[in-house]
Symmetry: C4
Subunit: 181 residues, 4 copies
Amino acid sequence: MRSPLMLGKSRIEALSDGVFSITLTLLVLKLEVPELMHHSSNAEMLQQMLGLWPAFATYVVTFLIAGGFWYLHHVTFHFVTHVDGVLVWLNLLFLMFVALLPFSAGLMGHLLVHPVSQVFYAGNQLAIAALLNAHWQYARLRGLLDDGEVVRVRRLSWRIGLTAVFFAACLAVAFEMSLRA
Amino acid sequence: MRSPLMLGKSRIEALSDGVFSITLTLLVLKLEVPELMHHSSNAEMLQQMLGLWPAFATYVVTFLIAGGFWYLHHVTFHFVTHVDGVLVWLNLLFLMFVALLPFSAGLMGHLLVHPVSQVFYAGNQLAIAALLNAHWQYARLRGLLDDGEVVRVRRLSWRIGLTAVFFAACLAVAFEMSLRA
Amino acid sequence: MRSPLMLGKSRIEALSDGVFSITLTLLVLKLEVPELMHHSSNAEMLQQMLGLWPAFATYVVTFLIAGGFWYLHHVTFHFVTHVDGVLVWLNLLFLMFVALLPFSAGLMGHLLVHPVSQVFYAGNQLAIAALLNAHWQYARLRGLLDDGEVVRVRRLSWRIGLTAVFFAACLAVAFEMSLRA
Amino acid sequence: MRSPLMLGKSRIEALSDGVFSITLTLLVLKLEVPELMHHSSNAEMLQQMLGLWPAFATYVVTFLIAGGFWYLHHVTFHFVTHVDGVLVWLNLLFLMFVALLPFSAGLMGHLLVHPVSQVFYAGNQLAIAALLNAHWQYARLRGLLDDGEVVRVRRLSWRIGLTAVFFAACLAVAFEMSLRA
C-alpha cells in the first residue's frame, strides 16, 4: 500500500499570503479619485471626498474582516505540520472566495443600501468562513496537526466555528431585509 | 572545466507563488460591478447579477485550472533539489503563459460562445501544460531531482503528461468547432 | 493561567512584503499612457509626456516614502523575536494605510496643487508613521524584542518617532495652506 | 565606534520577488480584450486578435527582459551574504524602475513605432541595468559578498556590465532614430 505524499506547508502559506496581500491591496482600486479640476474650491473638494464615504467604509470593513481571516488562517497553520492534496484543494477553494472580495466590496461600495449587494457580500464572507472550518476540521481529523496542543486546538475550533455562525447570521439578516424591501 | 552554477530553489518558488497569486486575484477584475442605481428593484438587480454568469463561470473554471497547475508545480518542486539557468528560463516561460490567463479568461467571459476565444483559451492552457512538462523532464534528465523517490517521480511524470494530453484534446475540439461555425 | 499564543514572525513579514510590493507596483497604474496617434510629431509626444510630470513626481516621491517605511518596518522586525495577536492587528492597521497610498497618490497626481489633496496625502503618511510607532512601542513594552541590543533599539525608537513628527509637520503645513486658499 | 547594522537578505529578496511578480503579471493588463459581439464572424474575430500583435510582442519582449533582470538579481543575491542600508536603497531605486515597466510597455504597445516611446522604453531598461550594476559593485566593494567565489564573481560582473552596455546601445539607436523622424 502506498502512503500519500506529504508536502511542506511553506508554499501554500506563501500562496495564501500572496492572495491575501493582493486582495487587501486591490480593495483600494474601488476608491476612485474624484474627477475635479484643481481650481475647484475646498468646499466642493471636501464634498466630493465625503461623497466617497460608502466606498471608504467598505474599504475599512472589508480590510479588517479579510485581515481577520488571514490571521485565523495564520493561526491554523501554526498548528499544521504538513499538508496533503485534499488540504491544498480546500485552501484553493478558500482562496477563490477570498479573491472574490474586491468584487463583493465593489458591490457594497457602489450600491451600499441595496439588499441584493448585502446578501452577496454576507454570502461571500460566509463561504470563506465555511471553507476555513472545512480546512481546519479536515487537518484535525487527518492528524495533520501538532500533537500536545489539545487545549489550544479545541479553543481555535470554537473560534473558527463562531466566525461561521456570525456570518451565517449576517446572511440571514441581509436575506430577510431583501425580502422586505 | 567549470561546473555550472547551482542555485537554491526558494526564489523561483517565491516568484512562481507571486505570479500565481496575482494571476488568481486579477481574474476577479474581469467581474464588473453592474452599473445600477441603488433604488433599482431586487428583480432588476438579480437579473443583472445573473447576466454575469459567463464571467462567474470563467472565474471559477480558470481559478481551479490555475490552482491545479500551481499544485502540480508545487509537487514538482517538492522533488527538485536545486536549479540551473535552463530550469529558471523554462519556469519563466511557464509563468509567461500563466500570467496571460486573465486575458484569456477575459476573452472567454466576454465572448463565451465564440470559437476563436475557445481556441485561444485552450491554447493558453496547453502552453502552460507543455512548459510544465518541459520543466519537469529537463529537471529529471539533468539529475536535479531528489534520488530515491523513483516510483513517485514516475507517477508524477504520467500525471503531468496526461494534463498536456487533456488540454491538447480540448484545443482540438475547440479548433474543430471553430471550423464548423 | 494560560499563557498567550506566541506566533513566528515570518508570515506577518510575508504579508507585509506582499502589501508593500503590490502598493509600490500599483502606483504605476496612476501613470496613464497618453492617448496619441503613432503619427503625431515628436514635439507633440514630448509635450504629452511632460504634461505627465505631476504624476511622475508623485510616483517617485510616494515610491521613496513607501520604500522608506518598508525599510523601517524591516528594521523593526529585525529585532522582533515573536508576535502576539495585538502586534498582528497593529500591523494589519498599518498595512491598511499603506494599501491606501495608491489612492492618496492618485489624488496628488491628478489634483497636485489642491490643498485638500495635500492634507489627505500628508494625513495618510502620518497614519502610517503613527501605527509604525505604535507597533514598535508595543513590541518594546511587551518584551517581544531581542534583548542585548539596547543601544540600537533606543536609536531606532528615535528614528521612527522623528518620522511621525516630520509627517505631522507636513500635515500642519498642508492644513494651514488649505485654510489660506 | 559603532558598527553599522547588518540585516539578513531574505526580506529584500521577498520584496523584490513581489515587485517582479506583480510587474510581470500587470503587463497583461495592457492587452485589452477586443470589443466584439459574440456573433461576429471568425474572420472578424481573428482580425481583431491579429490587430493586437504590437501589444502581444511588447508583452513577450518585456516579460523576457524583466525575467532576465530578475534572474540576474537572483544570481547576485546568491553571492550576497548580508545587506546594509545603502544596499537596501539601491535595491529600492532598482525596483522603482522595474515597477515602471508596465507604463513603458504600455507606451510601446499603443504607440509602437513612435521614436519617443522607444527612447523612453530603452531608457527605462538602461536605468534598471545601471542600478543593478551599482547594487552589485557596491556589494562587492563593501565586502558584502561570499568570499572564495572570485572567478564566478568576476564573470558575473562582466555579464551585468554588458547588459548595461547593451541597453545603452539600444537607447543610442532609439535616440538617433528619433532625431531623424
